[in-house]
Symmetry: D2
Subunit: 357 residues, 4 copies
């Protein structure tokens, strides 16, 4: 239980480092009978893949996934699904200088102090590259949810640094490298990113993830609530510093007569709850917001110390995303899908005979 | 794994309902040799107890805790600590009308749909009363952390509805019913709450929880990160709708050159990270913010439906906190202490021989 | 995860010591809607209770169980069921001398070395008294299995020390204090035990536990197989030194043409498998055998050491079962029921949509 | 939690099928700083490998292991260790007829009924081939135990079918294909196996596994005892039908004055306990016995049914071990090492500050 497993029943165990031979995961608990091919997974990996625009890292990884087990004649068998992605474009020499110093905002210092040893190549295990297996596993969860419950999990970027981005329509999200849902702002985002890259700096972002078609009844009252497990999954993603469900921090200044979502025979009138009441889904869309911090690896010089505790100046060269939030949307979707699939199974176990089904 | 257990190694299993005979928990994994008495636990329960000011529910519960096991001759034995709190002042008749209708913003609807049955008395298992066992367990974690690592976990209210509250000093926090750290605002808070109560409405709040003296090295890289487990614990608390670590949602608009905390031989210069980098503690204070929604149980009439799906108007009488956030500070402290104690043990298991110790 | 929880989905967390104020458990994961009263649990506790014949310990414990939570209007709610049993007849003075020496065959030595502290009164946590909460939890699992699947879990003693005991019929099992299924041997057992007690010695026993009406399909291929989880539960019971499924150790000398159970359109012809193939139930009766060692607490003097490592002679007075195997049958039944209920839920989660259902 | 993970802190997640592209596992929780190369793992895999004598399956698998992660510059980093073994010599055509019928004694029937689908090629997931990743993981546990505690885990065959095999000395175990510790019986074993193979039949075996140098104090009192977790791991191994600790089933007929191991200032005088008292290690050797059933895949014709429930005669051709027990010794060693490593970490977490260390 060193932390590399997500989920109780629909569970993913993640392995790998940025510059090791391969990364991957084992998905255990996917029910039998789901039609599944590598193409089903590849489509999600391609959304997260590096090198697809000038605004993300230029590392060239095809991120081809190989299914090693758990699928027979095109369908899942109910046994573990092993997924493998070879690292292709690792340039370990880029990172030799990092081995001795700690980059501000990076995991270098805390890793070194914890383990007494660390793989510094490309950030080793702390690299955002390790979100690829999560996305691969999430692709399976997404498909299983869609086929069994009609659940649809989608996300978009709602702010790039200081630029807020409205939701206009889902159809735009896949047509720009930012996963923005407002096509009128894409030009502005491109220019902002070009300037940022020239400045050798980085910036944060805000992401919304929404699951529609979640049945009422998934979750639990105390501790492992649906919203708690969502918060866990999201805050477990690199660079996330904040998570909201529904009205989130706006709830602080709300009154009860405003916040509590009224119901009519036709359904809820509002969704301040974000689809979760008492830790259990209500049947409304599950709405999650994430705050993603700016990338720690920047070309700007910063003060730090080395392993010996001596003052040094650190400048991070190599290939990096100037805004890790840009590629975060498909990852956040994967995480939400994984949590939902897990709770779908937990609910089926506990309440499978309740008459609503 | 129906969700009522928190933690992997230092773990709490919670049971009970608001109006059942008793509530309590089992704390499994507390190391042997800790001096522990009921008084150590009672002091924290008394901070959370109802009826201590006119601004919280007037239900009269002494919340006397009984240690049933795991302590011998005043010290923990390393075996499970059973904790029991009898419910004294349950007035189940107050809730007879709730059994047939769903209160807006409350767990009534999602519970009923999930389980097909629910205990409506006082909210049953969804009641904030079930945070008392969490506080009791947290008192043990707090003491163990303090004695073994010098870790101190404290919290305060940083906003009551629309009123922001600065941090002035820890010494003020225990001198007012709001856990506010600014004594100059207490009068204003009293008046605000009196007006709110008269209006039959409720309001949200914001809480800060801070752990000082956390050693560097607690946490894990992926999934079960320290910050992820904190987010899980906090979002698992009734009424919480948002969680931030360090700079939180302010990170969105920050640049990397601003967010990344620089280091010198004398330590970090800032703490945007909130004490966690790459999922692992840095040795800086661990800083967490919570958004707490307004109480759902209000006297104001609201639209809803009954079990048969027919439109009804709902008005919640009985005894309720007009701001559940007021009593949330000791609970949030308990949750943070429990997560830290768990990660202390996980770290000792995995890295116990690393030379830093 | 200090080991005091059994099961993944239908799970029991056990607490207490032999001479503490109370023992009990939390049963989390019992599905909602099961009719449940204290009488349903008491009937199983009474089968295990001490003091019911002259062949078991004369400690007088009524073992009255109190349901603290999880049941509303006579039915389970799907939330944790807290169970409490007060210790009544604790005579701690009997054990003052044990605190300084280690009884041969007892847990005294290993506990002291592990924890550095131990509760010596009545064996503290290592006492067989702690099987009472397991029996209480098992009563719930038994009822749930019976009502949902028609599964019936029963056991009997198949050897008392050197005396083998045939299975004649289930109807005899509850008519003698040994849970023997052959009424013609009861007189012999009574005389054997009387002589043993006079000799101040103890003896082992063998127990068979059988579950009929287990559906095909419960279990898993690797690691957490149904038979593996049964072995875990049984070997986790005090004094158990061996576990067999089906043909057990007889399999060693069998040929494949003898061991492999043939099938016909009318079903299996034999049951060497003991109802489990490849870790998954076959629909045949699940058959388990246990070896239980002789009680360690005997009046016969034996060589040992004290805390300082000095040689001492130890003689254990006080009230003890001369054959702990006599009361083991209801406990073994409870454990088998708990494992089966857990796998029933796991199977429903993973394969709930498979068409056989 | 579909069962494919073993251990709590030192944990293995296994994936793969007999005739899929690859098998493997993720070892999570191995502490940082252990020197580890593929050669350390290969040496154990080679002991289990098929095709090494005429008495085991003639399938040709080199079982070359690739370390995918978790090792940097020859040492473990404390992050997950991904292990991959490609399947080379899969002949899926051999198994086409099995797809429609259920082999007696095999997992075919229970799998099909559980999952509604199964991979029949070489037994799919139920194949003993899936013990290879367990052996690979166990090699890491073995090395970690040896280097940190001087613990040595070894095993030998103590009976091949009806032929009992004494322990003469460890040095002989690796010099014959049976892992027999008595060189004088090897010729007899060879002849027995030759005759058995000609007869188209199979036979069972008995294995002893012993861990020396286990410190006192590993384990827990209730449920997850050291012996319980050992029984779980062993009974989770294909074909195991019985597990004993120490005196095992001989305890049934023993008296307390015979069974309880006396202590002197120089240590224990006997080891009926098998190194575990009250679920916790005593510092004596941990002794485990396993009963392994005869291989289900035999050339002898047997009665069975097909998917449609019609009577058929089944004869299993293809390449099979006539005694799966022959290759079981290194697997049982691996399992014991994995359980011990897990409990070493659990003990360090809970009792790391107890003064004995």
């Amino acid at each position: 239980m060193s932390g590399n497993t997500l989920g109780t029943l629909f569970r993913v165990t993640n392995f790998g480092e940025s510059h090791g031979p391969a990364i991957g995961c084992v998905v255990d608990g996917c029910p039998p009978g789901l039609a599944l091919s590598e193409a089903d997974i590849q489509i999600e990996l391609d959304r997260r893949r590096p090198g697809t625009s000038r605004h993300v890292t230029q590392r060239q990884e095809s991120d081809r996934v190989e299914i090693l087990s758990g699928v027979f004649e095109g369908h899942t068998t109910g046994t573990p699904i092993g997924l493998l992605i070879r690292n292709i474009d690792a340039r370990s020499k880029d990172y030799s200088n990092i081995a001795e110093t700690f980059r501000p905002g990076h995991a270098d210092y805390s890793y070194f102090k914890k383990y007494g040893v660390r793989d510094p190549r490309g950030g080793g295990r702390s690299s955002a590259r390790l979100t690829a297996p999560t996305v691969a596993a999430g692709a399976i969860a997404k498909k299983w949810l869609r086929e069994n419950f009609g659940t649809q999990v989608r996300g978009y970027m709602s702010a790039l640094g200081p630029i807020p981005l409205d939701f206009v329509s889902w159809e735009h999200v896949e047509t720009n490298p930012f996963f923005a849902a407002d096509p009128s702002r894409v030009q502005e985002l491109e220019e902002y990113m070009d300037a940022l890259r020239k400045a050798g700096d980085s910036v944060g972002a805000r992401i919304e993830v929404i699951a529609e078609g979640v049945p009422v009844g998934w979750g639990a009252p105390i501790y492992d609530r649906l919203d708690a497990d969502i918060a866990h999954a999201m805050m477990g993603l690199n660079a996330v510093k904040g998570v909201e469900i529904g009205a989130g921090f706006r709830s602080v200044a709300q009154r009860g007569s405003e916040h509590g979502d009224e119901m009519t025979p036709d359904g809820f009138l509002t969704n301040n709850a974000g689809g979760v009441l008492g830790g259990i889904s209500t049947g409304q869309p599950v709405c999650v917001s994430l705050a993603i911090k700016p990338t720690s690896s920047i070309r700007t010089e910063r003060r730090s110390v080395d392993k010996a505790g001596q003052a040094v100046m650190v400048q991070t060269l190599g290939r990096h995303d100037p805004c890790v939030g840009i590629r975060a949307t498909p990852i956040a979707e994967a995480l939400l899908a994984l949590v939902l699939a897990d709770h779908a199974l937990l609910d089926r176990a506990l309440c499978g005979t309740v008459l609503r089904r």
